[in-house]
Amino acid sequence: MKLWKTTLAAAVLSLAAATSAFAARTDLTLGIVLEPPHLDPTAGAAAAIGEVTYANVFEGLTRIDDKGQVQPGLAESWAVSDDGKVYTFKLHAGVKFHDGSAFSADDVKFSLDRAHAKDSLNPQKQLFAHITDVTAVDPATVKVTLDVPQGNFLYNMALVAAVIVAKGSADGNKDKPIGTGPFKLDHWAKGSEITLVKNPGYWGTPAALDKATFRIVPDAAAAVPALLSGDIQAFANMPAQDALAQVQSDPRFSVVIGATEGETILSINNKKPPFDKLAVRQALASAIDRGAIIAAASNGLGKPIGSHFSPGDAGYVDLTGVYPHDIAKAKEYLKEAGLENGFSATIKLPPVPYARDGGQVIQSQLKDIGVNLQIIPVEWAEWLSQVFTNKDYDLTIVSHVEPNDIDIYSRPGYYFQYDNPKFNDLIKALDTTVDKDKRLELLGEAQKILAHDVPAVYLFELPKIGVWDAKLQGMWTNWPIEADDLTKVKWSE
């Protein structure tokens, strides 16, 4: 009898050991470079907030998938009125917030009203500007009324800043985010890591991971050893581009180069002489050699662009050939502007490698046509106040990472100081056009105007350099929005 018991115990034990050996891992540690200042996407613009929380902790009415397409989110379906002004969303049933409170149409009304209220601090308040009324028809139906048709309304409702929050917990979301997503916050060791755990009460397909930790690794040089030692198993966007070869040759890791929505551009102060002359801007565009800039500023990984549009998006038109690299032609343009002897200007560079490295290449390229650039390094806070707010600059390099943001050239008072009535009318028309083909046509039109008129010199699309354990599946290849959606991430084996 005793022997029988021991044998059974041994069998059970070995069985348990065997299953645990075969069961796939369910935890993941990801490295991120910047720590989010807080975790409320409706109250801060920092991209890191969305990286951690989007689709994981918070969900919107609609959501964006890894290809940039709009998918149902908390709304399982919707209907649009014939005039394109009224959207009726049918909400999923049985959805609960992380604190146990039930989700209903009232929460949608609360979230949207809050986002476009007069004192709203939503970083993308303009997305909600055309909402005139939100009505909770019944607990599972919401009707949103707009003053004009909005071509991008469903897409806008899927963005990070449009996630749905609960009235009772909205004010505490910065520190204790309460969403409806498949993960909830476990703890946040400030400066160190943010840990999410699986939400057992999730309404949709549960996540495969039980635990996901976002660890803050601010130093690019530390990223590689962190991966090699196994402490961190994934970087959605790896900071150490120079060290990429080291992990690329290692079969334990997958290196996946994808696209972001970051148009990296040489911004021009269009109202400041001599840049108010088209010929001068054309000279700049002809003098720069994108290939050399991409090699220096993004290790050859960025895709060249000729206008303010991501090559991965529907409606993209390749306009990189409008002003080919041609020194002689550039000098002709300068002559046309009456500046055949060149001129001097400044270029303010924010503290990111693409700007600092790219700026030096551009400085040397413009020297060839007699334009002497003085490089002024600035930090982000200075960039925001001097360049962006006060428009005190000649040239700068920056990556505009917001998705679908070609409309920024029509915004009054935007730091480009570009004012083209034809372009403004086009964007106005685009805003209210719902028909897909018509929209793509207008977008192509807008791209062409920018490519020819050079309100900025278009350099390249910022790459997303994904590096993760080769056994990890389901990470996003591209960043149609900056999000580390973990809902489909799992370990193979």
Partner: protein, 315 residues
């Protein structure tokens, strides 16, 4: 002694007041708006204005300064703009990393530096001295972030003895937490030890040339006893001065090492707060550090009295 103490305390208080003015003024002059930083490129000017009002940034300068100082006096260090938690909570979390790290590094550096300094001084000009001081020169010259990376590759990537970085927190167990502080402490300690060893050596050599050392030797004391008991003790004053300075540096000046090991220390908090223009965090923490440095200097002054009895009776 009381007069001396009073004088020291007055100087300390004046330093604090002066520091508070300088810190506040510098953060005001720095271009950059915390509200715009938080709301980003797409926020309208009106929104930024609303947030500025909420954060109290639109109040007159003098009023804000006085408000801040009044808070400090009642030990209220304010609330972080970006994290929106009390500054003191942030400091408490970070000091739990920075203080142990600084202490371990300081202990390591002392344990290495004093014997090396004594060894070198006692063999002045000979091969051993040249070798030790050459090593110290190397220790000062090697960039510490490079040295840190080499340590990571050797002990974390190759041998897998310790984690490559990060800090699991003290709640994860003392040994687990200590393990993640070993490499950073070594990386911090070595350059400090190199400096300290050189200071110890030159201080000792100076003392060894004094008459009383010859007397001690002449009365028949063995060289070792003279060296460790008579000479070293008298050479301690410059060594203690350097130690005090190094401790102040190790508390908050270790941003590079904190970045390489991604440790949530005080240095990184201040750096982050400066880049995000989290004015209140920078101002309050700098004031805390000023207070800490003043305190350390006072302690160093008192320790002089311990190693040199002559200083005790002086008025």
């Amino acid at each position: 002694m009381t007069a001396y103490l009073l004088k020291r305390l007055t100087i300390a208080a004046l330093t604090l007041v002066l520091a508070s003015m300088v810190v506040f003024a510098v953060m005001e002059i720095l271009p950059g708006d915390p509200a715009r930083l938080m709301l980003g490129l797409n926020a309208s000017a009106d929104q930024v204005e609303v947030l500025r009002n909420q954060m109290g940034l639109n109040a007159p300068l003098l009023l804000r300064y006085l408000h801040w100082v009044a808070g400090l006096l009642s030990l209220d260090f304010g609330r972080s703009y970006t994290y929106s938690v009390p500054v003191i909570d942030l400091v408490r979390e970070r000091i739990a990393v920075s203080l142990p790290l600084a202490l371990i590094a300081l202990a390591l550096s002392t344990i290495i530096a004093i014997p090396v300094g004594v060894f070198s001084a006692s063999r002045q000009g000979r091969a051993g001295d040249t070798l030790a001081m050459g090593a110290a020169q190397l220790g000062v010259a090697v960039p510490n972030f490079w040295f840190a990376l080499m340590l990571i590759y050797l002990f974390a990537v190759w041998l897998r003895l310790v984690p490559a970085g990060g800090f699991p927190g003290w709640s994860a167990g003392i040994w687990t937490a200590l393990k993640s502080l070993i490499l950073p402490a070594v990386a911090l300690a070595l350059p400090q030890a190199a400096i300290l060893a050189r200071v110890a050596r030159s201080a000792l050599i100076e003392v060894l040339n004094e008459d009383y050392i010859r007397t001690a030797r002449a009365k028949g004391l063995p060289y070792r006893a003279v060296l460790w008991r008579h000479a070293l003790r008298n050479a301690m004053i410059p060594v203690l001065t350097i130690l005090g300075l190094q401790f102040a540096f190790l508390l908050a000046g270790t941003i590079i090492i904190e970045n390489v090991f991604y440790l949530p220390g005080l240095g990184r908090l201040i750096f982050q707060a400066i880049t995000q223009r989290d004015l209140i965090v920078v101002e309050s923490i700098v004031m805390l550090l000023v207070a800490a440095v003043i305190l350390i200097n006072l302690l160093v002054d008192f320790s002089y009295a311990i190693v040199d009895p002559r200083l005790r009776g002086r008025q």
